[in-house]
Amino acid sequence: MAERRARRNLTPLLLSLPALVVMAAVMGFPLLYLCFMSLHRWSMVGFEPPRFIGLHNFTALVDDERFTDSLWRTLLFTALGVASNIPAGLGIALLLNQRFFGRNLLRALMILPMVATPAAMGLVWVVMLDPTLGIVRFMFRAIGVANPPLWLSDPFWVLPTLVFVDAWMWTPMVALICFAGLAALPAEPFEAARVDGASAWQRFRFITLPLLMPTLLVAVMLRVMDLLKVIDIVYVMTGGGPGHASETINVYNYLVALSYDRIGYGAAVALVLFAIVLLCTVALVHARRRTA
């Protein structure tokens, strides 16, 4: 009996062992190696072997203006992204939550922006946003804006423009998450409110919104994680430019570690970014636990 129990307890471990070993090799060990690197001055092309410098890479970050700028820029990018995606996604979900002709088709179509290859779609947006020949400029002029901004070439507009392209890809995901959340809400409170004569706005404000809050927080959490890490579309659309106007922390991290060959310093940036994502996620998980 004892022997059998021991064997049964070993089974799950044996089953997940191959996956665990591979994940330790491609994820666990690299992360430890990253921590090790962050404590060294490390270069791949130089002849100098890695040299231990303690926490120097981390203290140097504080004085690195390009790093602190990219950090604030990323936080702004994330804030703009969440502030636009969540209300827009909820709005679309409320619209799609009604019965009308073609609703299922529309819902199916909504998945396309988020699965289309981001690098390719980023370039399609570059063409559409072209400051002289782009369709976006044409449409702005058609509605009477004589001199629309230069979008990706304008240091002020480049970040909002990238937020917009990111929103095009990911608002549909927020919408579909909200849609699933709406479908799971109980019908009784709404009927009771209707009997009591609550207006549509009151029903939304005092019933839908509070009941949907856990779902919304999941959507916020997913968006925050991915907005903080944004890189693909920025890299292909602007490369961080003009100047450094769209250089998010992940883009800076890529450049500093793999283009400028400052591996150790780049490792420190990557760890800081990881820590920020981790902190934000934990904070949001806590917030969700309080509402649920």
């Binding site: 089974t11 799950p12 089953l15 997940s16 191959p18 996956a19 665990l20 591979v22 994940m23 090799a25 994820m27 666990g28 690299p30 992360l31 990253l34 690197m37 791949m44 619209l95 799609l96 939550n97 009604q98 019965r99 009308f100 002709f101 073609g102 179509l109 998945i111 396309l112 922006p113 699965v115 289309a116 290859t117 981001p118 690098a119 390719a120 779609m121 399609v124 570059v126 063409v127 020949l133 044409f138 579909l176 709406l182 479908a183 799971a184 019908a187 709404f190 994680m225 991915d226 890490k229 944004v230 890189i231 890299y235 292909v236 793999l258 591996i263 490792a267 760890l271 990881f274 981790l278």
Partner: protein, 270 residues
């Protein structure tokens, strides 16, 4: 929440919004049939004589076919290894508690890709593996494997335990249960999971940008070549973009019910 019939106005608004989201795809496909001259017209032309020249040009370039092959090999490799390792692990996770595995999977969803990429690049450099399919497939496992495990856990949990227990009593081993009971009963889920993992790998840009060389480059990296410093080859760019995204869009429509679940669980971004 009970769904109510829409008014004409809200139905119309829904249609307009969703069609607006589709507009970039329409513009991409339209552009892929335009000549350079049509592209340089302002205001932009909507009606024109379509040409296949852009597609011809994309395929005249032999290396594009090579990149297509690279993308297919890497995505197929990362997907199948992900399934092979992921299904038993998912079974263990669904039927027993597996804390270590769960934590690793969660870390994979949160960590920025670059945090794995920097050390992997150095490791692969030392192993002389940079530029090989091996390095690309191994690095893509970082997201295909967790995605497979998360997706399969939910499919396996839906299988009634009684069936497995019956098989065990009949003398089936645990591996036999997985092969003869779980796999057939979750076939649809396995199909959906593989499609999602394939898409995630096909779309990945950053890892291939760093770990591939000119011969092993995948399509998302290759398409960047159509934008030069001073000139954009508009038509060919649109044709290449169409060619890269179209398979993904078709595959995604087949598994549209599972897309959100996959995106929630798998690391796709950055």
């Amino acid at each position: 929440m009970r769904q109510r019939p829409a008014t004409t106005l809200t139905a119309l608004a829904s249609w307009l919004i969703v069609l607006a989201f589709m507009a970039p795809f329409a513009w991409m496909v339209l552009g892929s049939f335009k000549t350079t001259l049509d592209f340089l017209a302002y205001p932009p032309v909507f009606v024109f004589r379509p040409t296949l020249d852009n597609y011809r040009q994309v395929f005249a370039d032999n290396s594009f076919l090579r990149y297509l092959m690279n993308s297919t090999i890497v995505a197929a490799g990362a997907t199948s290894i992900g399934l092979l390792l992921g299904i038993p692990a998912a079974y263990a996770l669904a039927r027993w508690r597996q804390t270590a595995l769960g934590i690793l999977l969660l870390a994979a969803r949160m960590a920025p890709g670059i945090a794995f990429l920097i050390p992997l690049f150095v490791m692969f450099l030392q192993l002389h593996l940079v530029g090989s399919y091996t390095s690309l497939i191994l690095s893509h496992l970082i997201f295909t494997l967790p995605l497979t495990v998360w997706m399969m856990v939910s499919f396996i949990e839906a299988v009634p335990r009684e069936i497995e227990q019956a098989a065990l009593i009949d003398g089936c081993s645990v591996l036999g249960v997985i092969l003869r009971v779980i796999v057939p009963l979750t076939a649809q889920g396995i199909a959906a999971t593989s499609i999602l993992a394939f898409i995630a790998s096909w779309n990945n840009f950053l890892f291939a940008l760093v770990l591939a060389n000119d011969r092993t480059k995948t399509l998302p990296v290759a398409v960047l070549g159509y934008i030069g410093y001073n000139s954009i080859q508009w038509g060919t760019l649109m044709a290449a973009a169409t060619f890269i995204t179209l398979p993904v869009l078709v595959l995604a429509m087949c598994v549209q019910r599972y897309i959100v679940r996959g995106l929630v669980s798998g690391a796709v971004n950055g």
